[in-house]
Amino acid sequence: MQRKVGCQEYENLSRRGLIEKMGRQALQGLAPAWMPSVTFGSDYRGKFGPADRDVLISVYLRGGCDGLTVCVPYGDPAYYQHRSSLAVPPPDQTTNANRAVDLNGFFGLPPAMQPLKELYDLGHFLVVHATGLTNNTRSHFDAQQFMEAGKADKNLWTGWLGRHLASIGEMKEGALLRAVGLSGTLALTLEGGPRTTTLANMEDTRYGGRSESEAARVNWLRQAYAAAQPGLAEAADNTFKTIDLLRSLNFSNYQPAGGAQYNQPMPNGGGTYGSASDFGNSLRAAASLIRADVGVEAVHVDFGGWDTHEYQAPFEYYGPMYMGMYSLATNLRALYTDLEASGFMGNVTVAIVSEFGRTVQQNGNYGTDHGHGNVMMLLGKNVNGGQVLGTWPGLASELLHEHNALAITTDYRDIIAEVVQKRLKNTNLSAVFPDSGYTPTFRNAVRAA
């Protein structure tokens, strides 16, 4: 950027900016999918190309969620021995709601997760149990890093999803953004991905200052940042593109389809709050990006609050565990409704992971400490759902990992790799999981696109 920019040039830039702005307004004629005036033909989904690949929504449950509550192994008697007051009772014929609803005669969902039962029965919701990161760490931060990087390597600072994007061409030609993280900080899962950014708030696209000079100032910044150091230059470029994109989408007027309701009130009428309500907002934002059909092919959502060392109470509306599960289940259900009614669900897969499960034995504070094996979950119409996948290692004391945690029988990467190859159409799995000691074993978790 050695070009001399004089006063006259500034005026020209202003004018050029104005033309761009007008161009954007013209673009807005291609109204986003949820605008009430638009009706789509049955071929709308075909914009991806009928045989093309899925959009992936990656959900990370930060803190180590308790998989033994999320999907209850009520058929294992040891579960009730280890959890005298935290266990979810087995299903039975009584009307007592505080018990599991049966999935397959061995596992069940707790009340807060039951909104997903219907999708399980439809075969669109899959639980994988006794899975996770095979590395033994019980540190949140190491476990998250290793899982998101896809390898237990402290010097690997790109994420598996970022490398997937980097190792395959864009899904939609000329897409401004290929991946979005819905928080103020970029998750490692997405690190290394091209045209990838993070958004704290999809509705706020203000540059600030006088509107008359905005285009000129933004062009000034474009020039300045184009020559900035690596990292900063790309981030700025992503920011300009993102703001252009978001302004064309009019997110604040987004209307979910099919009567889908994100952030539903809880059964007692109270609302969710904190990370539980943020999750609903994030899934709503994810749905809007997918339905806008602008080429975003991966959305990452962080959902915190699962580090339940105390008061894990699975039936208490204001306990962290109930509220987390309730938000997870109802908002995933809303996402499914929204995308199904708008014709997109057939091209979307949702993958939900957490860094580790929690100790099988409850601790002294009606909570659980950091454990090992856990659940992961997939949602999608091409998921081989309606089952709890995996080999159950058992909860009897002598079968536990390091005497107190669920053992792992399925490397979580097996499931992710299968999704990447079959649903995201990337066969370059050695780029996604660059671990010479690891070869993916497909578990028939999803069907090929």
Partner: protein, 505 residues
């Protein structure tokens, strides 16, 4: 942007050599000679690779350059300026103190916070606000930088703890932030807030909770590769059973008459007295059966362990030098830690004694809080109320003080923050227009004459701390008439705040 060059293998090498090199600071001085190559500084704006600027030290150990700080540095020189900032209590800070008088909870005991009975006083809110006031206006800038550093190190999420304890938590860190690490650690733990946040108040014999025991080893002292095992986590958990808070078992709290409410209390009847071994089975690893002395002994062992020295030295080098300091640099800083019994001032003095000569001194990306404070400082903003700064700006940038939920503190890394530039630009363009609530700037006081070059010099003097590049100068010349209009001046300062240079330090 990798974040760890000094990897586990190198660290292990340090630990193996550790015993031999304790006290061998002279040896370290030789080994680091290659790191401190010398003579690499050209004049240039702070935050650029070309030159870390005349005022690089000022920018590294403060929340950003101001003309007052630059003048002070010019008057007394590098060594004296550093020494002055390392002795904060000798710096007159009365102007900042008068600004802090609006906050009534800062000097209150937990009991008084609890029993203040004045609903207009919100200790947690005052903590957030007063941190911002100090960061902008305190002359004890390095102290405030270190308070933020330790608040991240001993992170407590304000909504998952007792707000009545937060003023003393921060005051404890401020009091000990530059002294002995052992003293800091002991006082922070016994101030209770960290134990509250990490569930140790409920960690009692027979009903244990490993949260505090694990994070104490992983985050506060040894570091995740510090050589401990799950058994050591269980040992630490047992040792700290019964470490709790006076009045914790009283109910309802807000009716208490216990003046010691919120202070540390050891509950012997809730403590597991059995003897333990920590990080080994040799006699020197024994923690004898007993009461509170077990925890005191463990804290003392942890505070002086070579792994802790490495962990703290690594974080400080990363904070003050660059994201990837060399092994030799960290080793020398860790040796300074060990040979000074963990004296933080000594370690800082080593790291900072002439950063201009270190080839590991490299530009870093300002975290959102740092960016926000530095722009208010550079523009000499008069902030009457930080509320909109917090909710309109810091919240959108995702770095409100005391609001990081996991125990590891806001990350000191570029990649996690850099994608969220828009709120920074928003602030940059609003502030010089005086369109931020409750923060006023006198932009015309920041340059001598309103000629094109006069305004550019004002930007260089107040914001960049050195001459800008020819390319940037041309860009600014492009937006300023030969006699600049008021709007042009305001927007030029906005562009400067939004520029790549100003995001770095």
């Amino acid at each position: 942007m990798s974040q760890n060059t000094a990897d586990g293998a190198s660290r292990r090498a340090f630990l193996q050599a550790g015993a031999a090199s304790i006290g061998a600071l002279a040896l370290a001085q030789t080994s680091k000679a290659q790191d401190w190559a010398g003579g690499r500084i050209q004049p240039g704006p702070i935050g650029t690779e070309r030159g870390m600027g005349t005022y690089g030290l000022v920018n590294r150990i403060t929340y950003g350059l101001t003309r007052e700080e630059a003048d002070r540095f010019d008057n007394i020189g590098y060594a004296a300026y550093l020494e002055e900032q390392l002795s904060p209590l000798e710096i007159d800070d009365s102007e900042c103190a008068s600004r802090l008088r609006q906050f009534q909870s800062l000097d209150m005991t937990p009991y008084n916070c609890l029993r203040g009975l004045d609903e207009s006083i919100d200790p947690s809110w005052e903590c957030v606000q007063s941190q911002i006031v100090r960061a902008i206006y305190s002359k004890r800038q390095l102290q405030e930088i270190m308070v933020e550093f330790w608040l991240d190190h001993f992170n407590v999420y304000i909504h998952n703890s007792a707000s009545e304890l937060m003023p003393t938590h921060i005051a404890t860190i401020r009091k000990y932030c530059l002294g002995s690490f052992h003293t800091l650690l002991t006082n922070v733990v016994k101030q209770v807030q960290v134990m509250w946040y990490l569930d140790n108040l409920n960690n009692v014999n027979g009903f244990t909770n490993q949260n505090f025991g694990r994070e104490l080893l992983e985050l506060h002292t040894l570091g995740v590769d510090g050589g401990y095992t799950q058994r050591d986590v269980e040992t630490a958990t047992a040792v700290f059973t019964g470490w709790g808070m006076d009045g914790y078992y009283e109910w309802p709290w807000d009716q208490t008459t216990n003046r010691n409410w919120g202070k540390f209390k050891f509950y012997a009847d809730r403590h597991d007295t059995s003897q333990r071994y920590f990080m080994g089975d040799l006699p020197e690893h024994l923690i004898p059966a007993g009461g509170q002395a077990q925890g005191d002994l463990l804290l003392q062992r942890l505070a002086t362990h070579p792994s802790t020295a490495w962990n703290i030295a690594r974080k400080l080098c990363r904070k003050f030098l660059s994201y990837e300091p060399s092994y030799n640099t960290i080793e020398a800083a860790a040796n300074a830690f060990l040979s000074s019994n963990g004296n933080i001032r000594t370690v800082l003095n080593y790291i900072l004694r002439d950063i201009r000569l270190s080839k590991w001194y490299k530009p870093k990306f300002k975290r959102p809080y740092h960016f926000t404070i530095s722009s208010l400082r550079a523009m000499k903003a008069e902030m009457t109320d930080s509320e909109s700064i917090i909710w309109e700006l810091l919240n959108n940038m995702r770095q409100v003080p005391l609001h990081w939920a996991p125990p590891n503190g806001y990350p000191d890394a570029m990649n996690v923050w850099v994608e969220n530039l828009r709120p920074r630009w928003y602030m940059s363009f609003q502030m010089p227009m005086n369109w931020l609530w409750n923060a006023r700037v006198d932009v015309y006081g920041l340059f001598k004459d309103r000629t094109r070059d006069g305004v550019i010099r004002g930007i260089e003097r107040n914001l960049f701390g050195g001459p800008m590049s020819a390319v940037r100068r041309e860009q600014f010349r492009g937006v300023l008439n030969s006699t600049a209009t008021n709007t042009q001046i305001r927007e030029a300062f906005g562009l400067a705040l939004a520029s790549p240079e100003f995001q770095m330090y």
